[in-house]
């Protein structure tokens, strides 16, 4: 950014100075040429009024005059004889007539060649006349102008850098306002808006457009919330009535066959309800609903509670649950959803870890992340099927009859996303499944990690 600004500014400066320099040199040189041309036309006039005799007389007078501006005046007669002075001979490269021609000549009393500008004119009866001006002074002036230009570039560069830095600071300040809004919205604060400035510039227009876009996003999320809520209402009421009717029928009969069938039907309606609820929870969690319920709590405590709840069931299936976590490990998140995520992972392990003996729950800080692991030593999930397992309604084991099992891991993934984290399924060293839930750690300095939050 800075480099781009500098390049643009310096290019502009350079082009300007170059043009100025060229213009100045042209101006200086054209002065010289005009002088020579003027002298030439005076000489032509002499020839016209007094012929060759007057011209030669006047040239000789002129060459004797001190402080004359021109270096050389030459007359070439019809027969080719050269008179006049200043140059040893008629320069070979100069044609007649010529408006202005610059040549390098060697003068007898000067060591290095000097540059002269010449104009020539043809005389009416076959002769020619030449006026040559020394360009040394002009060259010196030109060089001075070039030096001045370089100095201007040096000073200009310093100013350019200063201007670029200032402009960058101004621009960065404006852009940061947008970054802050975007970050706040990304973190879940959908009500955050860009504060309008008074200036009616393109930033203001951008800000207005972004605000309009955020208004729309907020409206859509609100609509989604309403749709899911009313869908839940619409679908659950019939399920409630279904269950109610089944319960009444169950209570009204003593026929063991009917009671068995009704008990199964009640269980199925419960499963239907659970599936519906999980699917709705996924939708709501995906929309970021629930971020306003974030609290600070201990992950270690959460893992211990889950180990408590599932402990006896795991032992009945031949697995021992171990919890490994150092300290309280506070996180800022949705306690119940994270509890649910870990429970789903444990539930999943209990369902699929047949033949395993261990179920390890662990949590540890890994840089900016808290890694939460549920690891078993059962048969695991083949690497190729792991991504599939995280998809909604995925069912790896087609023979399973447990309703809603396909939603559990998908919900875990959306819960991870709600927290800005990720879920990964990997293979455990001893062949089992290792589910890793990575949660970013919020800045703990502002909320404090005082142990009073954890009793």
């Amino acid at each position: 950014m800075l480099v781009a600004f500098l390049l643009i500014q310096l290019t502009a400066l350079g082009v300007g100075l170059f043009a100025m320099n060229r213009f100045a040199s042209q101006l200086i040189l054209s002065d010289s040429r005009e002088e020579a041309a003027e002298q030439l036309s005076v000489l032509e006039d002499y020839y016209e009024t007094g012929g060759m005799a007057l011209l030669q007389k006047k040239v000789a007078e002129r060459l004797r005059q001190p402080g004359r501006s021109e270096l050389a005046i030459l007359i070439r007669a019809r027969d080719g004889t050269i008179s006049g002075g200043g140059l040893s001979g008629w320069p070979a490269t100069v044609t007649t007539p010529t408006q202005w021609s610059i040549l390098s000549v060697q003068l007898p009393n000067i060591t290095h060649p000097i540059q002269i500008g010449v104009v020539t004119a043809a005389l009416p009866h076959g002769g020619a006349v030449l006026v040559g001006n020394l360009l040394t002074d002009e060259r010196r002036l030109q060089r001075a102008s070039e030096t001045a230009a370089l100095a201007a570039i040096a000073v200009g560069t310093c100013f350019a850098i200063l201007c670029a830095l200032l402009m960058l600071k101004l621009l960065a300040g404006r852009v940061d306002e947008f970054t802050e809004v975007a970050q706040a919205v990304q973190a879940g604060d959908l009500s955050r808006r860009w504060t309008r400035s008074e200036a009616a510039d393109s930033f203001d227009r951008l800000g207005a457009a972004i605000n309009a876009m955020l208004d729309r996003v907020a409206r859509l999320v609100e609509e989604l919330r309403m749709v899911t809520d009313s869908m839940a209402h619409d679908l659950r009421s019939p399920v409630t009535r279904l269950k109610t009717t089944l319960e009444q029928a169950f209570a009204a009969t003593n026929d063991p066959k009917a009671r068995d069938a009704l008990a199964t039907a009640i269980e199925e309606s419960d499963s239907l309800h659970r599936m519906l609820e999980t699917a709705l929870d996924i939708t709501r969690t995906e929309a970021g609903i629930g971020r306003d319920q974030f609290t600070r709590f201990s992950i270690t405590e959460l893992l211990n509670d889950i180990a408590d709840v599932f402990g006896p069931l795991a032992e009945e299936r031949g697995l021992t649950i171990h919890v490994e976590a150092q300290g309280p490990l506070p996180v800022f998140g949705h306690r119940e959803l994270l509890q649910r995520a870990v429970s789903n992972l444990v539930d999943n392990a209990l369902k699929y870890a047949a033949g395993g003996t261990r179920l390890d729950l662990s949590a540890a800080l890994m840089g900016r992340f808290l890694a939460l692991e549920v690891c078993d030593n059962g048969p695991g999930i083949p690497a190729a099927s792991r991504e599939e397992a995280l998809r909604r309604f995925a069912r790896l084991d087609k023979a399973r009859t447990q309703s809603g099992a396909g939603l559990g891991l998908s919900l875990v993934r959306t819960i991870a996303h709600l927290h800005g984290g990720e879920i990964e399924l990997a293979g455990a060293p001893d062949g089992g499944l290792r589910a890793i839930l990575r949660l970013p750690i919020a800045d703990t300095s502002q909320n404090g990690t005082t142990p009073r939050n954890f009793h």
Binding site: R236, T240, R241, K243, T244, D270, L280, E316, E336, Q339
Partner: protein
């Protein structure tokens, strides 16, 4: 005297089912199908408990609750809702409800929760050091449990569960009530986790003793107590 229950529910079938169930259990139930009427009844007459649907025509259930609490009506309220998501439940409980039940629910679940609401002590919680039920004795200071004078070794999680059962003895406790009350677990894990806990506790508590204290209530849940 029979307890009076106000049911504010717009779905007629659900309202009739609840009212019938409550009458069968010896309660006096009154139903209204609209939020405004519900608020009028709740503030006008003395009920022992209110069952309030969250989504109501006329006036939203949460608005009814807020208006009631603002008018200093402290009657215990159980919210019924099809909004099962965690957030809806949390906001229901933080806005003054005493309990929250998600549709669809089993009537036994509603009944168990209602009974617990009605039994809620009015004063502040008293600091007890020993909990008793029949010949079971739990010392909360040295964390020892005895039955008929005999020491019973319990794991910390079993101790936690028994403490909850003792504090709610002689009442039917459903599986979800135990998940919520003992482990602060607010969703159905979908497996028989509670049953496994109970069968283990029962083995330690009832094996070799008479009479059995931990009872399974068919279709409802569990109860700790001396059945009379």
């Amino acid at each position: 005297m029979s307890r009076r229950i106000l049911v504010i529910e717009d779905d007629e079938k659900t309202a009739a089912f609840i009212a019938q169930g409550l009458k069968d259990e010896g309660f006096l139930a009154e139903t209204v199908g609209d939020g405004r009427d519900g608020l009028f009844h709740a503030t006008d007459r003395a009920f022992d408990a209110i069952i309030l649907d969250r989504m109501l025509p006329g006036m939203d259930g949460m608005a009814v609750l807020a208006a009631m609490r603002a008018a200093q009506v402290t009657t215990p309220v159980l919210i019924l809702s099809a909004l099962g998501s965690v957030d809806a439940r949390v906001s229901g409980l933080t806005s003054g409800a005493n309990d929250y039940l998600v549709k669809p629910f089993a009537f036994s679940e509603l009944l168990a929760r209602l009974r617990l609401l009605l039994a809620r002590p009015t004063g502040g919680p008293t600091e007890e050091t020993v909990l008793r039920c029949g010949d079971i004795e739990m010392n909360l200071l040295n964390r020892q449990v005895r039955r008929a004078g005999q020491k019973i070794d319990l794991q910390p999680r079993e101790f936690r569960l028994l403490e909850y059962l003792l504090r709610h003895q002689d009442r039917v406790l459903t599986r979800t009530m135990m998940l919520e009350g003992v482990w602060d677990y607010h969703f159905d894990p979908g497996t028989n986790v509670v049953d496994v806990h109970m069968s283990r506790l029962r083995r330690k508590l009832d094996d070799g003793f008479d009479p059995p204290m931990l009872h399974t209530i068919r279709g409802a849940g569990y109860m700790l107590g001396t059945l009379t």
